[in-house]
Symmetry: C2
Subunit: 457 residues, 2 copies
Amino acid sequence: MPQVKPRTLSGFMELLPAPQQQLERMLNVLRETYALYGFTPLDTPLLESAEVLLAKGGGETEKQIYRFQKGDSDLALRFDLTVPLAKYVAQHYGELSFPFRRYQIGKVYRGERAQRGRFREFYQADIDIIGDGKLSILNEAEIPAIIYQTFSRLGLKRFQIRVNNRKILNGFYAMLHLEGYASDIMRIVDKLDKVGQDKLGLMLAEEPYINEDAAGEILEFILIRGSNAEVLARLEDYRGQNALFDEGLDELRAVTEHLAAFGVPEENFAVDLTIARGLDYYTGTVYETALLDHPEIGSVCSGGRYDNLAGYYIDKPLPGVGISIGVTRLFYVLGEQGLLNPALPTAPADVLVLPMTEDLAPAVRLATELRAAGVRTQLYTEQKKFKAKMAYADKLAIPYALFLGEDELAGNVVACKDMTTGVQTTLSVPETISLIRAGLREKNRGAIILEQSNKGE
Amino acid sequence: MPQVKPRTLSGFMELLPAPQQQLERMLNVLRETYALYGFTPLDTPLLESAEVLLAKGGGETEKQIYRFQKGDSDLALRFDLTVPLAKYVAQHYGELSFPFRRYQIGKVYRGERAQRGRFREFYQADIDIIGDGKLSILNEAEIPAIIYQTFSRLGLKRFQIRVNNRKILNGFYAMLHLEGYASDIMRIVDKLDKVGQDKLGLMLAEEPYINEDAAGEILEFILIRGSNAEVLARLEDYRGQNALFDEGLDELRAVTEHLAAFGVPEENFAVDLTIARGLDYYTGTVYETALLDHPEIGSVCSGGRYDNLAGYYIDKPLPGVGISIGVTRLFYVLGEQGLLNPALPTAPADVLVLPMTEDLAPAVRLATELRAAGVRTQLYTEQKKFKAKMAYADKLAIPYALFLGEDELAGNVVACKDMTTGVQTTLSVPETISLIRAGLREKNRGAIILEQSNKGE
C-alpha cells in the first residue's frame, strides 16, 4: 500500500522534537536580544521576482540560486536577507522612519554542493540599521554590544568580537601605493591563521606588484597586537599620511571608546587588522566573532558598515551597518561539538496528567486548571498499561506526572511524581502548581550553550 | 543609476513595521496557546521532493503547486502542513512517541489566481494529535477547548465552534439508502446558508437519486437546532437503525460531555449537522469556527478526525485529529474590518534615549541599564534638530522619550516624557524604569482583536 518512500531533501535540516525545542530556544534568545536593542521584526516573502532578487548581479551566488518559471513569472527563492531588505527599504522608502532598525530571522536557500554540515536551506538572523543619507558612527559602536549580549545570553563566555575598519586597510595600502591591489592583498592576508607569518611573508613577496619592503611593511602592520589602547597607539604612528586612513582610525576610536559603557568587557573584544570581510560592499567597520575554544568553526557572527544598501533599486544614498548569524550552521556545529546543554527541558509538556478513574471529568478539570496557571499540560487518556504510560512520560522527558485516583479525589489532593528525582508528593492542586512552577524555574535556569570550560560547573 | 523597480510579487503579503508587530503578537498567542496544550513545535523544510509531496495525488491543489527542476531534482514548495507532517511521522516513526502532538506555524504556497484577499504565500497554524493504531476520543473532545482558548486569548468573544461527526452523516444517508451519494448531498447541503431552506429542499428533490420523501427527511435532519442537549436528544430518535450512525452519536456525546470541564462555555459551541468539511479523508468529528458578527469571513479554524494520516508513505494505521488556522487571511480580514486593536504598542522600542551632552557615555550607560532591565531601548544619536528627533519618536509611536542633559547628570536623574500624555517626569533611573514598566504593562494589557461590540468598552 505505501508507494512513496518518505524522505527529506539532502542539505535540508529537519529536526526531531527534542533538538527542535533546543533550536526554538536559541531563536527566541536571538529575537528577544535583537528586540531589546530597538530592532523591529520584518518578514519578507521567501519567493521574489528573479529580476528583483538578482538586480545586483550575481557572481558565485547566482549559480546556487533556486530559480524557476511559474506561468509567465521568473521567480527565485531568496539566498540571503540583505537583498530583500534593500528591496523593502527602497520600495517602502516613503513610509519608513530613518534610522530604520530591523531584524529578520528567516530561511534562505542556496543550492550548494551537498556535504556534511553544509545546508541548502538555513536560517539567517540579521540585524541592520539603515540611515537616510547619513548614519551616526555610534550605530557602528553599538553593534559589538548586541553581539556580546546575544552570545552571552546563549551561554557563551569564551568568544571574541574582532573588529577592523576597511578605511584603515584601504588607506594603509594607499600609503604603499598598492591601492589597486587592496582586495587581492586582503585575500592573501586572510590566510595568516592557516599558513603562519613566515609563509605569509613569502607569499606576499612573491606577488609581482609587492616589493620586499612593502611585504615587510604589510606583515608588520597586520601583526600589530595588544590591548585596544596599545593597538590604537601603534596605529597613531601611521596618522597624517593618508586622509582615508585617518578617517578610519577616528572611526575605530569611536567604536572602541564606549565599549565599557555598552557593557562589553575588554576580553570579549579585539581590534584585529587581519579582518577584512570578503564582500566588496563593506566600506567602514567590519566585524567577525570567534569562539575561542573552537577556531575551526570560523566566524559565527559577521558584518559591517556599507555606504549604499539599495543603489540598484533607488536613487538615494542609504548607508547602513548590519550583522548576520548563520543559525542553522551554528546550531549544527554546537550539536556536533556536544555544546548544547542537555539539562534544559525539551519535552512537549511540563506535566502529564494521568486519570485513574472511570470518570474523566476531574482529570479534565485538573488539566484546565494547570493550563490556566500557565503550565504546559498533556492529558493522557489512551488505554495503556500504567508502565507504558510512565515509559511515555520518560521517553518524552516530561518532568512531572500527576495522578488522580479515587483517594486523591476524596482527599481533594493530587499525586505528583517528579520524573527526574522519582520523589512523589500528595498535595492540594494550588500547592502542586507552586511546586511544579518552582521546579520548572530551576530546570529552565541553565544556558543553552555549555562551554567545555563550564561543563563541570 | 537605479535599474530595477523594487516590487513584491502579487499575492505575497509584505507588511510595514507596525502591522508586522501586530501579526507577530498574533503568532505568539498561537504558539503559546498551542504549547499550553502539550504540542511540540515542528519546523519542516519549505521545499520537498515533488514525488514525496504529491504522493497522495493531487486534484485541485496539484495545479496550484510551485514545482520546478533544480539539476536532476524535481522539487516543490509545500502547499499545506499536513503532507509534510505525514512524511515526518512516517519517516521518523521509530523515533517518535505516540500520541504525537505537534504544532507547526509556517508558510505554505499555492499559485492561486491573484485576487484581493487571496494569498499565494500564507501562514498556516496547525495542530495535530497522531495515534499509533488507536487514539482516544478524548483527544477529539479536547480540540474545542484549544480553539476556544486560542480565539479567547486573541480577544474574541462572539465566535462559535461548530461540530459534527462524519459517521453520523454517513450513517444517516445509509439509512436513506443514499450512502453512495453522501459526498454529493453534503456538497448541496453546504449551500444552506447561501440559498435558504426552501430553495435547498427544491435542489435536493431535483437530484435524480433523491425522492421527495428523502429530500424531506434530509431537510428535517439538517435543520435540527437547539442546545447541545436538545440536538443530542433529537439525534437519539434515529438510534438503532445504523451501526455507523450510532457510533458517531456516541462520539459526539463524548465530545460534548466534557466541554464544561475543558472550560468551553456552551454559547461558544454548537452541534451543527450541516458541517461536513470538503476533504474526503475526515472520518469522525469535524470542526469549523465562525465569527458571529462576520459570517462573510467563513470558518477561521477548521479540521477534524482522520483514520489514515500517512498510508501512502508507511504501512501503519496512523489515526489523528487536527485543526488549522489560515493566519495570513485571518489577519488580512481582521485588518480590513478594522478589528485589530490600534491601542497595542507597535513601536520597535519602548524608549528612545536622547543624549543632550557632547559626551555620549552617560547616555550609552543609561541605554545599557534600561536594556539590562528588559526595556527595549533605542539610542538616538543622529545629528538632527530636537523637533526632528521628537517627530521620529512620534512617527514610530515610541511610548517614552528620555533626555539626559547637564542638569539631569548633575542631579543624578533623567527626564522622561510620556509621548502619549505629554507628561514629563524627572526621577532617578530606577524610579523611571519602574514608571516605564508599569506604563508598558498597562499599554500591553489589551486584546489583539477588538470586536465591534466591545470597542466602546
